[in-house]
Amino acid sequence: MNLLEANGIVRSFGGVHAVAGVDVSIAPGEFLSIIGPNGAGKTTLFNLLSGHDVPDQGSIRFADTTITGWAPERIAALGLARTFQHGRVFGNLSVRDNILVGAHHRMRAARPRVPGLGAVAELLMALIRPPSVAAEEAALNAEVDRIAALFGDRLTPRLENPAYSLSYANRRRVEIARALALHPRLLLLDEPTAGMNESETAEMTTIIGRLKSEGHTILLIEHKLDLVMRLSDRVIAMDDGRIIAEGPPQAVRTDPAVIEAYLGHSSLGEAAA
């Protein structure tokens, strides 16, 4: 049974088919990468899967639930976490608070499930702060320390600093840390190494590899083919809103359609090297 199953996804913006009939599925524990030139529709597809945009046609199933048209917060609560292409940390929140927001939907003591009066109960819990809420907050904080430690000493010394004071690479790390705090069943990473130099990319590759070995199910958009080739179980290549190749990493890399999409007709053949 696939964890995610999207069929016949179409999304147009004013006559331009950003995504024109795409099928994507991902099995539990799988590492799937989507590659393709700029404007191929990768990020649009991500937005559709995470609920930030609604497909014109097609259906999406995630964790045995049809989530087509759902709001992003409901999809997140089902266990789907994503990062954003250009990095969207909460600038004025500390790194710690950024990561804690990732754990938002997991809070139980602070967010009692009272039918109809959940919001009121949540407000009262915040004001009264009973021991159960304090214990939960302490446990989450300890978990934040553990998640931050994944990134070596990049984040740990900066946990109490506001996110706007971080370097670009560190903001991307905070995004991934925040996504991990959600305990995602599916992790959507949108160009996690964009804007990183070689050594930072290598470091990020190690971290993502570690997430894979820990059993995370990961859907990755990435331009850096080294990273894609090293980690992916399967690769999808997109161009012009369509899937042009799909399969094991090496097969997709040498697929003529993919080479053409990346480099254009004239250089066909030379690029396979």
Partner: protein, 607 residues
């Protein structure tokens, strides 16, 4: 049937007047993405300059119009230079707040120069009227329609056929690209402000003549109507603004025909909310455009928060508590009691405007709801005051949240417009719902504060009660800010798209923040009602909303102590000068302008 034709003609003429204001606002929004809240002030200045020209200089109408154009053009250029250009790199809401400051200053200068009393502005035109259907059209009607058409034609020609006009359109489409191609975007802004202000001034003159009545309050009304018309037509859309104005004029005219003239504004604000909720991009925008890129529309300047040691706060509270023991300070006590009540409003506003990032321009409406709820429960239901005040808090939380809920899906300046409109609607409903609120008569003989048999009607008691309630509300809010809710609110403020991606439901948390804020503000309004013993729909106007926002910015957005500090400072400082109300608002306007320009993070820093 004839009377319907009359109402239609009347609606079109009023719409034409609105169009002169709305076109200016749309032009300015088009090139600078700024809602110029000072536009109505320019319009009022136009009316007063015209009045002065007629009254003192006895100028004929064409010369008067030229003087009005000259003065208003100069003011428009000054607004651009002072309010917009220095804030080029600031958050989008900053220039909006700056124009609010400029508008306060201009309006108060008008009041000081010409007194707040209304003046007659008789039209020098001949008084003949042409019968049309069952009604008539006069020379002034034709002049207004002609001015509208002529300015639309001139504007069209300017934008279409002149080099500067091309530059304006290029800047409106993409300011950065225009600048790269060598367009002097500052000159474009200046030109647009000049044209818009000239139109606004002429419009003020014509409206003054049409109603034979001018007063300084016409400024805010004009801004509001212009903004409503623009929202209907789509922000920055010039033809849309004209169409929106005519539609607004007709809606109002028919509404007045059906329900009476006190419903005129209610109709325009209801239309505003309807459009904002259903078609936030205006009637003429395509229904489903690409999802907008993140826009940090909040007014949060990253800053170092000033750490105030808790013991100093408690010491300050202790000192505040013994102040009434000083003999012979009755007047100071009253001022400070007012300061505590304003502080409750300020911390309520700083929660939604600062912590949650929804810059509300209608917060005073919560005071009104609280004041009416407590007074009516005490008078009509006969409940004791110590019960009605907390009940007023709860009712305000519920009503306030329900009213603002349709605006939860809006962002940045649309939130400000919507809350402004909702605030006006609350006042108008109170005015018109005579069965419940006693209408324009107001509520009299509101019982004083009391706890059971204990009468708390002395100035000292009022002071102590207000301070105690403020301390409790502040403690609750500080607990709230330290909980996961504080974190969640601030996450929504910083990036609502990312917040939703992590399971944060905007409706739920915006609702919670507005409910908590409504509770505090409602209690403040309720206590005030029992202290004043008389309230009406104008006890707390939008001027109070703007004052509270100034206090909040002074203290630092989202900063709890800052809000209290700002409220005390801005309530007490004008008293030092023993100023009248006019000077007070003038001071607030100047403070607001200086803060936005030089210390947007406030005194204690934004949180």
């Amino acid at each position: 049937m004839g009377s319907w034709l009359d109402y239609t003609i009347n609606g079109l003429i009023i719409g034409n007047i609105y169009a002169l204001v709305a076109v200016g606002l749309a032009l300015i929004f088009g090139v600078s993405h700024l809602i110029n809240f000072a536009h109505g002030s320019v319009y009022a200045v136009g009316a007063y300059v015209g009045w002065a020209c007629f009254t003192y200089l006895h100028l004929p109408l064409p010369l008067t119009a030229l003087v009005v154009i000259a003065v208003c053009t100069a003011i428009g250029i000054a607004i651009e230079r002072l309010g917009l250009r220095p804030l080029a790199g600031a958050p989008r809401i900053a220039p909006l707040l700056a124009t609010i400051g400029i508008s306060l200053v201009l309006d108060q200068l008008l009041q000081i120069l010409f007194t707040p009393d209304p003046r007659a502005l008789p039209s020098p035109l001949p008084t003949w009227r042409i019968p049309v259907g069952g009604g008539t059209i006069g020379a002034l009607d034709l002049l207004i329609a002609g001015t509208g058409l002529l300015s639309a034609a001139v504007l069209y020609g300017f934008l279409r056929f002149t080099k500067l006009g091309w530059a304006v359109r290029a800047t409106a489409q993409d300011r950065d690209a225009a600048r790269q191609m060598g367009v002097d975007t500052d000159a474009v802004n200046r030109t647009v402000f000049a044209i818009a202000s000239a139109l606004g001034g002429i419009s003020g003159l014509l409206v003054g003549m049409y109603f034979n009545h001018i007063d300084p309050a016409m400024s805010l009304q004009a801004t509001l109507k212009g903004v409503v018309a623009q929202v209907i037509g789509g922000m920055g859309n010039v033809p849309g603004a004209i169409a929106g104005s005519l539609l607004l004029g007709l809606t109002e005219s028919y509404g007045v025909a059906l329900f009476g003239s006190s419903y005129r504004n209610l109709f325009s604000f209801a239309l505003l909310l309807l459009i904002l909720v259903l078609r936030p991009n205006g009637l003429f925008a395509s229904a489903r455009s690409a999802p907008p890129e993140p826009m940090t529309g909040t007014f949060i300047a990253p800053s170092r928060v000033v750490r105030v040691p808790p013991w100093t706060v408690w010491l300050a509270v202790a000192i505040a508590y013994v102040v009434p023991l000083i003999p012979n300070i009755g007047y100071a006590l009253q001022v400070l009691t007012n300061a505590w009540l304003m502080a409750m409003l300020a911390i309520s506003l700083t929660l939604v405007a600062g912590t949650l990032g929804q810059v509300s321009l209608g917060h005073a409406a919560l005071l009104l709801i609280g004041a009416y709820a407590s007074s009516l429960l005490a008078l009509d239901a006969g409940w004791p005051v110590w019960v009605t005040i907390p009940m007023a808090g709860i009712l305000t939380a519920l009503i306030g949240t329900a009213l603002v809920a349709p605006a939860f899906r809006l962002r940045s300046h649309y939130v400000s417009i919507a809350t402004l409109g909702i605030g006006e609607i609350v006042g108008l409903v109170i005015l018109n719902w005579e069965g419940l609120t006693r209408g324009p008569m107001g509520v009299t003989n509101i019982p004083p504060l009391a706890l059971g048999k204990l009468e708390l009607d002395s100035p000292e008691a009022a002071y102590w009660v207000s301070l105690a309630v403020l301390v409790v509300l502040a403690l609750l809010q500080s607990r709230l800010l330290r909980s996961h809710l504080g974190r969640t609110f601030r996450a929504i403020r910083d990036d609502d798209v990312a917040a939703r991606a992590y399971g944060v439901s905007l409706n739920r948390y915006k609702g919670l923040a507005f409910a908590f804020a409504g509770f505090g503000a409602g209690i403040s309004g309720a206590i005030a009602a029992h202290l004043y013993s008389y309230i009406n729909n104008e006890t707390f106007t939008s001027a109070v909303s703007i004052t509270a926002l100034t206090m909040v910015i002074l203290g630092g957005m989202g900063n709890l102590l800052g809000g209290i500090l700002g409220a005390v400072a801005l309530t007490a400082i004008p008293e030092l000068f023993r100023g009248t109300a006019e000077y007070r608002m003038l001071i607030y306007g100047v403070v607001l302008l200086l803060l936005i320009r030089f210390r947007p993070q406030g005194v204690l820093g934004t949180v």
